[in-house]
């Protein structure tokens, strides 16, 4: 199956080559970090998690969002998703691999990671999260390989795969729930300690993930003969609309609770996000851009005529994705540490090295998506070689 990814035109190989260069550059920067220590990042004693852990959190959401195509297709037999379900599952695999890589690059002593399994600690949500994510990866790899293989043979997937697919549905919900618990169980961090964090994570995942999937399908339509037709795209657009509405609704609930109750230890974090705290306005412009993008996206998605137009839908998906990336990939994690438990504000901003490593990890994900999409579409004869 994978041999299909080894044949392609010059554009394909150009893209693959580009990704390898980006990964290689990221690796070089990682070696610098490995030698020097995490001090090479912008992290410090007060803001101890930053860009890496935020990307991890964001990508757990992208991984979980595969359930938005898997559930309608396999549970409700929604045939229109037949062609794109496997694309969602492959995206999930790539996302989990990126999650693992982001955890790896965030560790002070990465070679000791096996200690998590040598000294299993059920008290720690990190233990459960590694089980949830590892399990989800295994499930999706098994499902994808079998589905692609049976497509190649032109037979329906084996019967035993169905229960595994059904298991992957609650499992997808669990990975993002456990990831939210990682944060929401900490009494030390009032910003995260909110029961709505897991629902919020899921809502942002189920809007950002499918938005990305729509954009990937548009890219495939442009560069290959792949065309799933209008219906699945429109249905995905509807899913994005509902999930994004819920996401914005949840954020507004958080803002209401913080501002109306006025409890400083809750409020200060939101001040830091939207107006700045003690003169620190690092995230303020970003958060306003995120908010404006959210408004634009919902406006476009709410108007059926706009949503039904694929060009407008594509633009709306870009705004959804960027809005959620800023909210989750920047705001969510950093703000938990600002102010710190002593009420002090410490500045954090990713360094160049940190950013290059992050881009390198994303390139790994892009490479996985490219190779497996290529293989899948070649098997279906939807790529001109």
């Amino acid at each position: 199956m994978i041999e299909k990814a080894l044949r392609g035109n010059s554009k394909y190989w150009g893209w693959i080559g580009f990704l390898f260069i980006v990964i290689f550059v990221g690796l070089l920067f990682y070696l610098r970090q490995f030698g020097y220590g995490l001090g090479i990042t912008g992290l410090n004693r007060d803001v101890t998690w930053g860009l890496y852990i935020a990307q991890f959190t964001f990508l757990v959401g992208v991984a979980a969002s595969a359930v938005m195509v898997v559930l309608p297709y396999y549970l409700h037999n929604f045939k229109a998703f037949g062609k794109i379900t496997i694309l969602g599952e492959i995206l999930a695999i790539a996302s989990v691999v990126m999650c693992g890589t982001f955890i790896f690059v965030d560790m002070g002593q990465p070679l000791r990671i096996p200690n998590i399994f040598l000294f299993p600690s059920p008290n720690s949500l990190m233990f459960w999260d590694s089980i949830a994510l590892g399990g989800y990866l295994v499930l999706n790899v098994i499902i994808s390989i079998n589905v692609i293989a049976s497509e190649k043979k032109g037979t329906p997937p084996p019967g035993w795969i169905k229960p595994i697919i059904l298991l992957s549905i609650p499992w997808a919900i669990s990975i993002h729930t456990v990831t939210a618990f990682l944060y929401s169980g900490l009494a030390a961090r009032p910003f995260w300690m909110t029961a709505i964090l897991a629902p919020r994570f899921l809502a942002s995942a189920f809007s950002g993930g499918p938005a990305l999937l729509i954009l990937l399908v548009f890219l495939l339509k442009k560069f290959t003969r792949f065309d799933p037709g209008r219906e699945p795209i429109q249905k995905l657009g509807l899913i994005v609309t509902y999930a994004m509405s819920l996401n914005v609704f949840f954020v507004l609930m958080e803002i209401f609770t913080a501002f109306y109750s006025g409890i400083p230890e809750h409020l200060d974090h939101f001040k830091f996000l939207y107006v700045g705290l003690h003169g620190n306005t690092t995230l303020v412009p970003w958060m306003w851009v995120s908010s404006i993008l959210a408004v634009i996206s919902l406006t476009l998605l709410y108007i059926p005529k706009a949503r039904n137009n694929e060009a407008v839908l594509g633009f709306a998906c870009v705004t959804v994705f960027l809005s959620i990336w800023i909210e989750k990939g920047l705001g969510m994690v950093i703000t938990g540490f600002v102010p710190n438990p002593l009420g002090e504000v410490t500045r954090y901003w990713p360094t160049f090295t940190e950013t290059m490593i992050t881009i390198g990890v994303y390139a790994v994900g892009a490479l996985i998506v490219t190779i497996f999409y290529k293989a899948t579409l070649s098997i279906r004869g939807e790529v001109s070689v």
Partner: protein
């Protein structure tokens, strides 16, 4: 954990010693040797200080009278090979002074007693009875001993910094880079750390094991730091707390800190 690494190494070491010579160097039976504390007696050191619940009391008033005194901080950071960085980004600290409004962030009171509001209480690890850092650690590299001390294993720590996110007191530091070049006067009898692990105050477990009080307590000339067993009604710390008004940091979180601040 019923047996920690230290106990295991002691027991294993002594067992192999006993196995070689039949009897130990002092001619005692093996059964007399392998019991808690026996190693320290054997090695000619003082018997360890033991407690059911170690606690520290900080007399803010006494401490504040010694304006700008940093003897306890210096002593601690010297004996534990804590590096000194010029920038706050890489900073590592086991004890430090913090303005009252930060140390007792939850005690918002603009018209608090003037000397208190301008005080800079000493902060260290609170050695909580219910330590959130221990709950979140994915490798049990940090754990609570039976006597209440929250310990750190620098060889097991993977540097995920979850404990730093979980600690409501900002008591933990991370080695963002190799700390060794920044240790001014390296002590040979205490380990240095490598980059990528978390560290913090351990109530001088290594000194207690040889019958010494924590370095900070010993360094304080004015008795502003009192250390002892809270379960012992005759202990100094217990008497002090019984007779004075004291507060703890963020009691509302239910972590039950074992560091008490006396307001006189």
């Amino acid at each position: 954990m019923t047996i920690d690494r230290r106990k295991f190494i002691k027991t294993a070491g002594l067992a192999s010693l006993a196995g070689l010579v039949g009897k130990n160097v002092l001619g005692q039976d093996v059964s007399d040797v392998i019991e808690p504390g026996s190693f320290d007696r054997l090695s000619g050191l003082q018997s360890p200080l033991q407690a059911r619940r170690w606690a520290m009391a900080v007399d803010i008033g006494k401490c504040e009278k010694q304006h700008d005194c940093t003897k306890c901080i210096d002593a601690c950071h010297l004996v534990h090979n804590v590096p000194k960085f010029d920038n706050p980004k890489d900073e590592i600290k086991w004890i430090w002074k913090e303005p009252f409004e930060h140390a007792f962030h939850e005690q918002e009171n603009e018209f608090q007693k003037t000397d208190l509001i301008h005080s800079t209480p000493l902060l260290f690890c609170n050695h909580c009875d219910i330590p959130p850092c221990v709950s979140v650690c994915p490798t049990r590299a940090t754990w609570k001993r039976e006597d209440g001390i929250v310990m750190m294993d620098w060889h097991r720590c993977i540097g995920c910094r979850y404990c730093m996110a979980g600690c409501p007191y900002g008591s933990r530091s991370f080695n963002w880079r190799d700390p060794r070049p920044f240790i001014e006067d390296q002590q040979k009898d205490f380990p240095t750390r490598m980059r990528g692990v978390v560290e913090k105050c351990t109530f001088c477990d290594e000194r207690l094991a040889v019958g010494l009080l924590p370095a900070c307590v010993e360094a304080c000339d004015v008795g502003a730091l009192v250390f002892g067993d809270l379960e012992d009604p005759e202990s100094n710390v217990r008497k002090l707390l019984n007779n004075n008004f004291s507060i703890r940091r963020k009691p509302g979180l239910g972590t039950q800190p074992e560091v008490y601040y006396i307001i006189s």
